[in-house]
């Protein structure tokens, strides 16, 4: 009996203990993420959790200024911004001389060495090696002289030769190298700030083999101390480095469910979370201001407008909703019967910005004041367009098939759209899929109407406009299978132009063509709210890049 009592007391004491004694007096940032980190290999950097983790350990050549808005690129592994040739086809880079990799047994004496030009080129070549299953070859495809041929030849060869030269990747010495482009590619600098191009040490990659995605030996400010899959990743600051960092460490906590993340933040086990939609009413009043109790508690929040393109897309090859004649009228009728603001209020707590066209707010080519002439809810217009299409009152129109993701609030959103469209006599057949299933249907051009979201990879509308370029049709990123010669010609002109008024003019022309043809409806960008407790300072998040967590500061943990 006495033993049982002791055991219960011990259990209760340990259960209530929240702060790890090893953390007392240290500046450890506890950050909650919503999914497992899939890989720490930069060539796999595409999901948010993996990108956050990689951003702590690995560094690309460039990064964005932490506080400047709009975003401005700054050197990270470079000593200065690159020199660009007059024809915009050659970029020459000089690396800083004090960037070193973390220590690892694969290095001579186990001590991390200086980052060199060879490492940069090696990291780029890893993107060409199919065995690495890289997710980001698109950033280099058809851009760098000889790189596509190199990729094809090496993947066909019995062994991928990383020492074989690529004409467009020229190494001058340990610190200087040039990239020669096949045609001007003004987005190159954005690409060089992406995690895909982060620099990795070849000897460590080869030493680790298949285990490399679970390892983290980079030149970044932190090193991986512990990775408990499904639970957390613990990073500690490296002893010496080329940048001063205030934090002693970062711990990423993984939460497949929202409630435990919210509760852990409420008890201050977590310093920062992205506030789940369901918990926004608990945190905010009607005007999106923090509720008094949280203000008194020293909580602050940061509103972040995502570079986001959430849409309901139409398959332009579908016999009913596709094409440029009857189908176009049907698409516009459906758009006119659709109420995006109602969706925003019901499912996003109003935290969305609806906009016209495919260019999200914050990018050149976007116009806050612009509205599609068929923007809903406008039932009179919807009925008129439907009648013009030959389906008065919806008669004769087969049920429209809505292909939605079966998770989150998507099924309920589909039901709301069904109700909205029923007002003009349109029947809806809702089909729900897992995300991989939905992707396959879109890729196979079997999804008549579908819901997707596209996050811009870099702050340039070219990234969104590429989604309507004919040669990118499914299985490419043009999920709509939109093909219009005039659009393609404009895109081909604009994509090689550096930022300028003329390029913005072309972007707006393309935007207007897409609005006229309506291959999608109801575009909106989601707002995200970061909530941080009173320990946190210098918090200016941005989701276009993830090497910024090092600039956050927190008060040391008290017992």
């Amino acid at each position: 009996m006495r033993r049982a009592l002791w055991l219960s007391a011990l259990l209760a004491a340990t259960a209530c203990k929240r702060v790890d004694s090893a953390e007392v007096g240290k500046k450890i940032l506890h950050f909650g993420v919503r999914s497992e980190v899939a890989s720490l290999d930069p060539v796999h950097a595409s999901d948010e959790a993996s990108s956050i983790a990689q951003g702590l350990v690995y560094e690309p050549l460039l990064q964005y200024d932490y506080e400047a808005r709009p975003l401005v690129l700054r050197p990270l592994l470079l000593a200065a911004m690159p020199e660009v040739s007059e024809d915009l086809r050659t970029y020459t880079f000089t690396l800083r001389d004090d960037a070193k990799f973390s220590d690892h047994e694969a290095f001579a004496d186990g001590v991390g060495r200086t980052v060199t030009s060879t490492d940069v080129v090696y990291a780029f070549k890893r993107m060409a090696d199919a065995k690495n299953a890289p997710k980001g070859w698109w950033i280099f495809a058809d851009r760098i002289v000889g790189f596509d041929d190199y990729k094809e030849a090496q993947n066909a060869a019995p062994k991928f030769d990383y020492d074989a030269p690529v004409e467009g990747l020229e190494i001058h010495d340990a610190r200087r190298f040039s990239i020669h482009l096949t045609h001007p590619y003004p987005q190159l600098l954005y690409i060089l700030a992406m995690a895909y191009t982060a620099v990795v040490p070849r000897e460590v990659v080869e030493h680790a083999g298949e285990a490399f995605p679970r390892l983290a030996i980079g030149s970044g400010p932190f090193q991986l101390n512990r990775w408990a899959p499904g639970v957390e990743l613990d990073f500690t600051r490296r002893p010496s480095r080329h940048e001063q960092v205030a934090l002693d460490g970062v711990r990423l906590h993984i939460f497949p469910q929202e409630q435990p993340m919210w509760l852990k933040w409420r008890v201050r086990d977590l310093d920062v979370i992205i506030v789940p939609f369901d918990y926004q009413p608990a945190l905010f009043d009607r005007d999106k201001g923090l509720r008094e109790a949280f203000v008194e508690d020293g909580v602050s929040m940061f509103q972040y407008d995502k570079l986001d393109f959430v849409f309901r897309g139409f398959n332009m090859e579908d016999p009913v909703v596709g094409g440029f004649e009857k189908g176009k009228l049907v698409r516009k009728a459906l758009a006119a019967a659709y109420d995006v603001e109602e969706i925003g209020r019901a499912f996003y707590d109003g935290a969305i910005t609806a906009y016209a066209g495919p260019i999200p707010p914050g990018l050149a080519g976007h116009d806050d004041a612009l509205r599609e002439p068929y923007r809903g809810p406008n039932l009179a217009l919807a009925k008129k367009l439907l009648a013009e299409a030959g389906y008065p009152g919806g008669r004769g129109l087969p049920p429209i098939e809505l292909n939605f993701y079966r998770g989150g609030s998507s099924p309920e959103q589909a039901e709301m759209i069904r109700r909205q469209w029923s007002k003009i006599g349109v029947d809806v057949d809702v089909k729900l899929f897992s995300f991989p299933e939905l992707s396959r249907r879109i890729r196979d051009k079997k999804a008549q109407v579908f819901s997707l979201a596209w996050g811009s990879d870099y702050p340039d509308a070219e990234n969104n406009l590429a989604m309507f370029y004919g040669p990118n049709a499914a299985p490419g990123s043009n999920h709509f299978n939109y093909r219009r010669d005039a659009y393609d010609r404009l895109y081909e002109r604009a994509r090689v132009m550096p930022p300028s008024d003329e390029r913005t003019r072309l972007y707006t022309e393309m935007r207007d063509l897409v609005i006229e043809d309506a291959p999608f409806m109801g575009a909106f960008a989601r707002q995200r709210y970061y909530a941080q407790n009173r320990r946190v300072s210098r918090f200016v998040p941005n989701e276009t890049w993830w090497t910024w967590l090092k600039y956050v500061d927190v008060e040391p943990r008290a017992r």
Binding site: L11, A12, T14, A15, C16, K17, R18, E36, A38, S39, S46, A130, K131, A133, K135, G136, W137, W138, A141, N155, E210, P213, R214, A228, P229, G230, V231, E232, H253, I254, F255, P256, Q257, Q259, P260, M261, L263, K264, R266, V267, D269, G407, F433, S434, F435, P436, E437, L438, S439, R440, R443, W454, P475, G476, S477
Partner: protein, 311 residues
């Protein structure tokens, strides 16, 4: 007995093959596109083709199925599509946390439920029996998710008696994190189990040899624990053995809410990402466990009840 076990195991082979065949084709028809899921929104036809080649997804279906059978025979399920880790490593990593959650919960649930069943059967028809069974029905009627959400909110947040979320790998350090999910599993399990055990035990209580035992002057405790319980062991063993495969495979919801890195969470993640090697291996694991526990259950029957002969 050896012949019996060998025969039952052999009989299990077609069951396992059937399950693998159904899983394989269900995944092929409804499972989505793991390649597209992995490569993401910028996937090009060349990249898709290259990765399909690497994963063997470009081969005819029957060849892919034969390769699956070879994987079962060699116990080598390759690598996860998502993390590129060996599948065996991913699954082995999840077994420990899942067992840490489910084994103590099963023990506690069984002991408590059998005890409640004994008390209810002993006082059958009286207020204590009715009260316990009402509680059991109420317990069964509440959704598992409600227990989790409310339990986590009240017992870990409002009254911080337990950890909200997390896990430590050390044998001692993990318990503060497991205490609340185990408690929830026990409470949820007790509703159904205590009703089931009460019925099984009540049936025994009515038998003549029990009346004889009382007539011989044996105490109620001895009658219940020695004579009744021993004869009610067959349904108890059946109920416990049914739970055994789920001990290893974990609890999807609990693991997900409490951050326990067990096999339930692993499966959930694999389904979400169309990680077929993990799903295939998990399916085989579950089928094999079901076949093994069925055989073991039969052996246990013979052990606890000498009237049963294995043949």
């Amino acid at each position: 007995m050896t012949r019996f076990v060998a025969r039952r195991l052999l009989e299990g082979v077609p069951i396992i093959l059937g399950v693998t065949l159904i899983t394989f084709f269900l995944f092929y028809v409804f499972g989505g596109d793991p390649v597209l899921e992995f490569l993401g929104k910028h996937a090009t036809p060349d990249e898709i083709a290259a990765l399909e080649r690497e994963y063997g997804l470009d081969r005819p279906l029957y060849i892919q199925y034969l390769a699956y059978l070879r994987e079962i025979l060699t116990l080598d399920f390759g690598r996860s599509f998502t993390t590129r880790e060996p599948v065996s490593q991913v699954l082995l990593r999840g077994v420990g946390p899942s067992l840490s959650l489910t084994v103590p919960a099963l023990f506690a649930t069984t002991i408590l439920s059998v005890s409640i069943g004994l008390v209810a059967a002993r006082f059958r028809g009286r207020a204590i029996d009715r009260g316990l069974m009402v509680l059991a029905v109420v317990g069964m009627s509440v959704s598992f998710l409600v227990y989790i959400v409310v339990g986590q909110y009240l017992l870990a947040f409002e009254w911080p008696l337990f950890q909200i979320h997390g896990y430590r790998p050390g044998l001692v350090e993990r318990w503060p994190y497991l205490a609340l999910p185990i408690l929830i599993l026990v409470v949820v399990g007790m509703g159904y189990d205590s009703r089931f055990y009460r019925s099984a035990i009540a049936e025994e209580v009515d038998k003549e040899h029990i009346t004889t035992a009382y007539a011989k002057g044996l105490g109620a405790g001895r009658v219940l624990f020695v004579h009744v319980l021993k004869n009610a062991m067959v349904p108890i063993v059946t109920r416990v053995m049914i739970s055994v495969p789920f001990l290893v495979t974990g609890s999807l919801l609990l693991e997900s809410f409490f951050g326990i890195p067990g096999l339930g969470g692993t499966l959930l993640e694999a389904l979400d990402r169309a990680d077929f090697p993990i799903i295939k291996a998990y399916t085989v694991l579950v089928s094999v466990l079901f076949v093994l526990t069925n055989v073991l259950t039969d052996v246990f029957y013979a052990w606890v009840d000498p009237r049963i002969r294995l043949s």
